[in-house]
Amino acid sequence: MTAPINPADSLLERAPQALRDLVTSHFPQPWRWFANGLLADVAILAVFGLLFAALTLAERKILGRVQNRPGPNRTGPFGLLQPIADGIKMLSKEDIVPRDADHLLHFLAPVTLLASAIMAFAVIPYGRNLVPVDLDAGVLYFFCVGATTELAVFMAGWSSHNKYSLLAAMRALAQLISYELPLLLSWVPVVMISGTLSTTGIVAAQSGWRWGWMPTWHVFTPWGLAGFIIFMVSALAESNRSPFDLPEAESELIAGHLTEYSGCKYVFFFMAEYFGMTALSGMAVTLFLGGWHAPLPALEFIPSYAWFGIKLISLLMGFIWIRATFPRLRMDQLTRFAWKFLVPLALINLATAAFWSLSFGWSGPMLAARCGVALVLVIVPFVLLGRRLTAGLAPRSYAYAT
């Protein structure tokens, strides 16, 4: 190995910014910030648009393999052109609006949904110095934007003038109120510990190594792990993914709020779901999984944005994997799960994080005590609340008639 170089200076690491400077240096200085912003928009749309296409294919392929079938394999080699075929098909379809629908809202719903899903990408740090907008309250902005998606789902359900869509709209609102809370509470400890609401600040707080090799990501602390799990479960519900896909529960509500949508508007919903899933995964990476930091010092030669991508895609694969197996919850069970399990856990987790922060200076045997107390604070409520949640549910044994 040659002389160690600062990973921040490597050619690949600086490539995105070098590329940006190459393009925008032609602009006069006063306009450069605007050009930079525009370029970031284009890059986000291009990268995540492609990721969306790849993700739809990956989801269908993985679901296919899980279910003993090949998945799409007719368009191009291994079905790789399937997203393009899907796109052409969906975009060339007739846009049908029910006669009695509220035309304005019916049109606005998918646009609002997609716009807010894309806006969420603005504050995620994709790599070292790679954040489109470095807001002081980036995390807050992210979740404010994310909350509007449910409103758009409600608009879609309401305006479609369809009873199934209306039921879906009711479900979407109940789900929003239930899961917004644990989602927000799950990252408050992160803000408490890192002392900042800025996404870049939170990533910076997770830099460095403990004992020279162990990353100081939040997920490797007891409260961080609990927060991460609560965050991911709530994220599943927020992005209407199985097993929380109640608003579009296909076996009960046909397609829920999507029932009366076709063609391009349907694609918008579809894109928004995947964008939302991607953005939430990106935020989970930022908050808990160390953002763009490498997991081991020896692996820092891989550029930071690649690490972000790897973590992001792993989480997305988790989403797909979960979808492949679980049955769907019922609406009352969904809300009960949020209010009686996730919210108390998230609140207790807040206390755990407070303790963690108080005991910051402990060392030696006290360090072991610190970890022990924190683990107990995380595990005991989980077990107790989980037991109450599943009370009365058990596999049964059966008698035989004589």
Partner: protein
């Protein structure tokens, strides 16, 4: 009546309710084109929020005048038509009809044919139950994985049916007095291979989903049917046994060669959807045992009663009722002969239809999501319900 501000005006049917807390009820017509009504079944559900306050089943979209056609067709001519009743279980439909005609005409069945009937009926039960488990889990929202697992096994059984009878589902295989074609040793070996692997498949399937908390939460305590109510409604089959009544026509009537086989009849204690699901899983395990015994003991010999006259069959005037334990319950055929070549009266006792009668009782007070799961656990086939 002024429409509620909460419901879009126009097509929505809204009923005023004199209850300021519950507001208006929403009437939703689920079906006949709905992904989860298992065919062209329609439920008109009245919802209070998501709770069902009234459920009206609407039948008849697949009515094909089955019984009247049976009266204007010869006895043999109705045999392929029975395939279309419960189109998942042509083999057992055939058998029940053949049993009724055999009783009418005083025909006997050779031993090998009886064994073949048992083998085919139990295979039919396996594929019906495995389908039901898959569809039920699909109705709970399990994204197709259990269904595809189930269908993989079902395809193997349908391949065996096709090898023997020429058709995967419309088998038209049984004849009064025996069976249509004989099974080759190779075919029996294929059945043995399938039966040998089926237990492993069931283990895999159960490991995938049975212990899942979400599944238990969705099915336990949902759609409870107690034994006395089930008996009063004439429920039969796995649904009755899930309600705790150990009534199995294979044991009660001892038709065919069933008294020769050792098998147990699982019964449920709660009568809920989970019990209905589990009873089917356990019945499949019992069926595997029956199949193993049948494959071990099947003798060589003729497969048709030499006295049987398929074409131009004119039984003496009289009446008969043939019933068997079909996968869905008691499938029976009631025939009255006036001595002519056609039955004077041809009546089907369809298990799906009778089991469906308790749907509203099971669904009341549950949510719209539960109604779909309860309907799935009743196990209906519209070809049989509407006839």
């Amino acid at each position: 009546m002024t429409p509620s501000p909460l419901v879009p005006t126009g097509g929505a049917t809204v009923r005023a309710v004199n209850d300021e807390f519950h507001g208006d009820l929403l009437e939703v017509s689920m079906g006949p084109h709905h992904p989860s009504t298992h065919g062209v079944f329609r439920m008109v559900v009245t919802l209070d929020g998501e709770r069902i306050t009234k459920l009206k089943p609407v039948l008849g979209y697949l009515h094909r005048n089955h019984e009247k056609i049976g009266e204007s067709t010869s006895y043999l001519g109705s045999m392929p038509y029975t395939d279309r009743l419960d189109y998942l279980n042509a083999m057992t439909n055939n058998w029940a009809y053949a049993l009724a005609v055999e009783r009418l005409g005083g025909l006997s069945v050779p031993e090998r044919a009886e064994y073949l009937r048992v083998i085919l009926a139990e295979l039919s039960r396996l594929q019906n139950h495995v389908c039901l488990a898959g569809f039920l889990l699909q109705d709970t929202g399990a994204s197709g994985t259990p269904l595809m697992y189930a269908f993989r096994e079902r395809e193997k059984i349908l391949d065996l049916f096709e090898a023997l009878s020429g058709s995967r589902m419309m088998c038209n295989f049984q004849r009064f007095g025996g069976c249509r074609t004989d099974a080759s040793p190779a075919w029996l070996a294929q059945v043995a291979a399938l039966v040998g692997g089926f237990g492993r498949f069931l283990d895999e399937f159960e490991e995938l989903i049975t212990g899942n908390e979400i599944l238990m939460a969705r099915t336990q305590g949902v759609g409870v049917l107690k034994g006395p109510a089930a008996v009063a409604a004439g429920i039969t089959g796995p649904m009755l046994r899930a309600a705790g009544v150990g009534y199995d026509i294979r044991k009660v009537d001892g038709y065919g060669l069933y008294p020769r086989f050792t098998f147990r009849v699982p019964i449920g204690a709660h009568g809920d959807t989970y019990d209905r699901y589990m009873i089917r899983i356990l019945e499949m395990r019992e069926s595997i045992g029956i199949l193993e015994q049948a494959l071990r003991d099947i003798p060589a010999g003729p497969i048709m009663d030499p006295k049987a006259k398929l074409r131009g069959f004119r039984p003496k005037p009289g009446e008969s009722y043939g019933r068997i334990e079909g996968p869905k319950g008691e499938i029976g055929f009631y025939l009255i002969s006036d001595g002519s070549a056609n039955p004077y009266r041809y009546r089907v006792r369809p298990p799906s239809f009778v089991n469906l009668t308790v749907l509203e009782d099971l669904c009341l007070g549950h949510t719209i999501a539960d109604s779909v799961v309860i309907l799935g656990s009743i196990d209906i086939v519209l070809g049989e319900v509407d006839r």
